[in-house]
């Protein structure tokens, strides 16, 4: 409807995506791992794009929903819940015994280990509810004020995760939650079975664990793209954009602005929650350190740098900002060692330098982002390709 890619290009692109990890893993699993993380960032950036790009609500605490998804996976797919029951029994014996009764002996011994098929929808649901809850008090705020309040909410969630290890230990505090179950699909663990050295066997094929995760994340990413695209070109998407463009006019056109804003917060947060749960399962370990304000800003930078409100642009921004630092980390120091026999500039320093430079350059040269939505003047005029105008 909106684009006319030739089928040949699509097939080529799909093949490229499918073959990529097979080729890249020849040069070491870390390359595929970088892309795995980048795929998670794409999901995050697309989720934030619904809030910031479509509805125009500047959200600086978005990483909180990533955290909620990750901690949900941490509680419901790791031994952590056994710790929670034990700690509750120590502190409040009655409540602890009641929870033990409710959960059963098996859970008290090993924690909860739910399947990914439960975790993903649950992460979307819980994060979505939190999105609406945290969005509700901010409905009357705009621009800078909204950014400051959401920033505060984001930090509150992180500080909660950091301190909920007492009196009852729920999140294990700054130590984080360890031993989160890897994703298991149809009985196959994507981390590889114990003793296999991280090699996954699927229907006679064997591949490194990172490749298996690559295909899973790629699938989730495509789902996210598909859903964002459909939402954008729908009655709801138009209502969001109308609110972004002129809230008063949107109201006068009968759009229930409060509900539409809450829906945007909830939908955006749901994508963040799923990405968070996948992050937890992929890493096997989460701690509050992964969910700082810097991360929120990084995701926002991906959206803005790529092209706010434009899905392909946001994907480009996410890939660039997520992958570049990792690539630098893997290349800068070895290259310097090879050339000079000495490391002159550390990768981290160079990363920050380039990051700042990129943002400044974008603001100066392409303020709408690297790949902004095509100007509507570029579209064919209605009368020229259809006869609706003359009918």
């Amino acid at each position: 409807m909106n684009t006319h890619h030739s089928p040949l290009r699509i097939i080529f692109f799909a093949l490229l995506l499918l073959v990529f990890p097979v080729v890249a893993s020849q040069f070491g699993n870390s390359w595929v791992r970088i892309i795995d993380i980048a795929l998670l960032y794409i999901m995050l950036a697309l989720g934030l794009n619904i809030v910031v790009g479509f509805a125009g609500l500047l959200d600086l605490g978005y990483i909180a929903f990533f955290a909620i998804g990750a901690y949900l996976a941490g509680l419901l797919a790791s031994p952590q819940f056994a710790v929670v029951i034990e700690s509750l029994q120590m502190e409040y014996p009655t409540a602890g015994d009641w929870l033990l009764q409710l959960a059963g002996e098996a859970v008290a011994a090993q924690g909860i280990h739910w399947s990914v098929w439960v975790i993903i929808p649950l992460a979307a649901l819980v994060a979505g509810i939190f999105g609406a809850l945290l969005g509700a008090p901010t409905l009357k705020l705009r621009g800078d004020y909204l950014a400051i309040v959401t920033l505060g909410f984001g930090e509150i969630i992180r500080i909660f995760m950091n301190n909920l290890n007492g009196p009852v230990n729920i999140t294990n505090g700054p130590q984080g939650i360890n031993l989160i179950d890897p994703v298991r699909i149809g009985g196959v663990s994507l981390a590889g079975e114990a003793g296999s050295g991280g090699v996954v066997q699927v229907a006679g094929w064997s591949m490194p664990s990172v490749n298996a995760y690559y295909y899973l994340f790629l699938l989730l990413c495509m789902l996210t793209v598909f859903m964002s695209q459909r939402l954008q070109h729908s009655r709801l998407g138009r209502a969001w954009i109308a609110i972004r463009e002129d809230e008063i006019a949107a109201k006068a056109m009968g759009i229930h602005v409060r509900n539409m804003k809450l829906l945007a917060f909830a939908m955006g947060a749901a994508f963040g929650g799923v990405a968070g749960a996948m992050f937890g399962a992929f890493q096997g370990f989460i701690s509050p350190e992964s969910f700082t304000l810097t991360e929120s800003i990084a995701v926002l930078a991906m959206v803005v740098l790529g092209g706010i409100g434009h899905i392909p642009g946001v994907i480009l921004g996410a890939v660039l900002l997520a992958a570049l630092p990792e690539i630098l980390r893997h290349t800068v120091e070895p290259i310097q060692m090879a050339l000079f026999g000495h490391v002159w500039i550390e990768a981290e320093v160079l990363r920050q330098l380039l990051y700042g430079l990129a943002l400044v350059l974008i603001m100066l040269v392409r303020p709408a982002g690297l790949w902004p939505s095509p100007r509507q003047e570029d579209r064919p005029l209605a009368g020229s390709d259809t006869q609706t105008g003359a009918a």
Partner: protein, 257 residues
């Protein structure tokens, strides 16, 4: 009063801090009429307009549309009830195309939610086709079908006005309320606007009109209400209002004794 009153507001009062913007305003608009609201600057026309369309909350007053009372507590509820408006300083969704602007106007008369958007099942697809067709037809009706894909921000002033009117019509209003639609228009544009408004009326939509151009109003309006200092000082046909000494005094000042 008349058997066929579309909008009846009674006893409307509105105070902004120390300023009594509206005092006991009564207004009745007959179905199928173009009803004008005139008055000198600062008379309270726009406030009255904003109160009726739910943008400002009244301190007092009863509101009745098509025989049913409605509460102007929120603009979206008023739009749903059947009053659509345009703005004195045009408020389009600048980054959207003209067509998309009008499509947004269909929001309140359509229903598809998240599931419809994502799965695009037959009902959702059907609704989307209807929205586009309706919006395209409205753009044609106001005479700018050829500009459908243009970004609203880049349209000329007169065309933006037309998009705004088409967008308001897309909500299928019983009453179309226009706040100074002819402001900044030249004579040709004004006469085109006039034809458009008469066509809209003849199709059965009533209009409430604020306008400074008294000449335009006198020829166009079936009835006129005159406000001054937040009070209704006259009501009647154009000819009646023109003769009214209170109106003459309000516009020209009182003759020295």
């Amino acid at each position: 009063m008349s058997r066929d009153t579309l909008l009846r507001v009674t006893g409307v009062g509105k105070r902004f801090g120390g300023l009594q913007a509206l005092t006991d305003v009564n207004l009745a608009i007959t179905r199928g009429h173009i009803h004008g609201l005139i008055g000198p600057n600062g008379a309270g026309k726009t406030t009255c307009f904003n109160v009726i369309t739910g943008l400002n909350q009244p301190d007092s007053g009863q509101f009745e549309l098509a025989g049913k009372s409605y509460s102007p507590s929120a603009p979206h509820a008023v739009a749903r009830a059947g009053i659509a408006r345009t703005f004195q300083n045009i408020r389009l969704f600048g980054d959207m195309s003209a067509l998309e602007n009008v499509m947004v106007g269909r929001h309140v008369r359509t229903h598809q939610g998240v599931l419809g958007a994502i799965f695009r099942h037959p009902a959702a697809r059907e609704e989307e086709v209807q929205i586009v067709a309706h919006a395209q037809a409205l753009l044609e009706y106001v005479g700018i079908a050829h500009l459908a894909q243009r970004t609203a921000r880049h349209l000329s002033y007169g065309d933006q006005r037309r998009v705004e009117i088409a967008r308001a019509l897309a909500t299928e209003p019983l009453l179309l309320a226009l706040d100074e639609p002819a402001a900044g228009m030249n004579a040709t544009e004004k006469s085109e606007l006039r034809d458009l408004l008469i066509r809209i009326r003849d199709k059965g939509t009533s209009l409430l009109l604020i306008e400074h151009d008294v000449k335009l109003m006198m020829g166009l309006c079936d009835r006129i209400t005159v406000l001054d200092y937040g009070k209704v000082i006259a009501e009647g046909t154009a000819a009646e209002v023109q003769q009214n000494p209170a109106v003459i005094a309000a516009y020209l000042g009182v003759e020295a004794a």
